[in-house]
Amino acid sequence: MVLAPANLQEAVELTQEGFDIADTYRIPVMMLGDGMLGQVMEPVEFGTYTPRQLPEKTWATTGRGQRPQNNIINSLYIKPDVLEKMNRNLQKLYDEIAQKETKYELYNVEGADILVVAYGTTARIVRNVIAQAAQEGLKVGMVRPITLWPFPAAAIAQAAAQPSVKGVLSVEMSTGQMVDDVKIAVNGAKPVTFYGRSGGMIPLPQDILAHIQSFLGGKA
């Protein structure tokens, strides 16, 4: 699972929740930060997160004691039929996680002219873009994935399906690591475009807005 906080308060809460998620499903959880989140200072509050009820660990290697069988933790399955069964069980788990743990935020989405998908610090910058665009009479909406896996494909598809939406823009601090997922989610229903900066360059609101305007003008 990949968690992408957009500010430090969210980073604090998601880090705590990340441990509970990893414990519940026995999967690795990654926190995807960026250079800005890593260096910025913001006040945070602790104690805002309510810990989850965690499952009993009957599988743990704690010494056999009075247990009738040994607990063995491994990931090596030499027999193909056994490995396939394991793979199917894992797939079931992934499906369950996707169903229960997908997190995202919708911002200004209803009736938007254009939909932006952005996460982390980029999503904070896009809020400024949305405010600037509003002054020019353009309604920009945003889907902000909080989990990058599971990816909020259904939420993006639903927001993009609105008749008002003319296109979808993936803004990233990369050369395009998410845009393919956005394209899969939109599934050809609307045109998808990309704007990204990398190497530590931060996308500026006016540059993103300029990209949106040229996209709407049929140029990008």
């Binding site: 290697t61 704690t62 010494g63 056999r64 004691g65 009075q66 040994n70 607990n71 063995i72 933790i73 491994n74 990931s75 090596l76």
Partner: protein, 246 residues
């Protein structure tokens, strides 16, 4: 009729997959007997390596974990720190411990983790097909040193017991062999003492066991035992390298 010998209950009934003449089987038995005789079977947690002994978790009759290649001492560190009252051991070959896992073993010893490491040195990578290992003797022929290990090009073998004994964190380190009965008996004593060291909370213990690989050495089992005695023992002298008690 009186029972004069029976298999230790700390080994499961799973048949060993080891090649004929390989001494892993003997060493498994010595480890299992030691756990049983010390009465720690119910609290023992073992960590298996990557290599020939990767299936050790099927053979030792206690809770077991599989670690990524070379990482057994790191996994054992985690287990022991969560369960300081349990007996935690790793069982690792020379490819696993002395090559990719060199950093983990050095720092586990340096931190004086209260774990026991059973280190099997057969001077070759067994499972992957007999490649040169960090422990391969100078001049020794392997599939990746077909003209013999050339020390000008490949450097020299790593002497793990000697190296780790220089660290203040290690508590008990002994090198033993299993090429004949007296040595098997000595090896058992050493392994038991290493576990006792952990039970007494004295810190890091490691037993290096010189072992044969008839398949990849290209020898019959008896010749392999003789080759070990004539070639490995002179290069890797047996004995106690560290005993904080002594």
């Amino acid at each position: 009729m009186a029972v004069v010998f029976q298999k230790t209950k700390m080994l499961t009934d799973a048949p060993f997959h080891y090649c004929p003449g390989c001494t892993h089987g003997i060493i498994h038995r010595l480890v299992a007997e030691s756990l049983e005789e010390l009465g720690v079977g119910g609290t023992a947690i073992g960590v298996a390596p990557v290599g020939c002994a990767v299936f050790a978790y099927d053979y030792f009759n206690c809770d077991m974990q599989e670690a990524a290649h070379g990482r057994a001492p790191a996994v054992a560190t985690g287990i022991k720190r969560v369960h300081p009252d349990k007996i935690v051991f790793t069982y690792q070959g020379d490819g696993d411990l002395a090559s990719i896992g060199a950093a983990e073993i050095v720092h586990a010893a340096a931190r004086s983790e209260n774990i026991t490491v059973i280190f099997i040195n057969n001077a070759i990578y067994g499972m992957t097909g007999g490649q040169m290992a960090p422990t391969t003797l100078p001049g020794m022929v392997t599939t990746t040193s077909p003209y013999g290990r050339d020390t000008d090009h490949c450097g020299f073998p790593v002497k793990i017991s000697e190296m780790l004994s220089t660290l203040d964190g290690s508590s008990f380190i002994e090198r033993v062999s299993v090429h004949d009965v007296p040595n098997v008996i000595r090896a058992k004593k050493a392994i038991k003492k290493a576990f006792q060291c952990q039970i007494d909370g004295k810190g890091f213990s490691l037993i290096e066991v010189l072992s044969t690989c008839p398949t990849n050495w290209g020898m019959e089992p008896q010749n392999a035992l003789n080759w070990l005695k004539d070639n490995m023992v002179p290069y890797y002298p047996l004995g106690v390298y560290k005993d904080k008690e002594a």
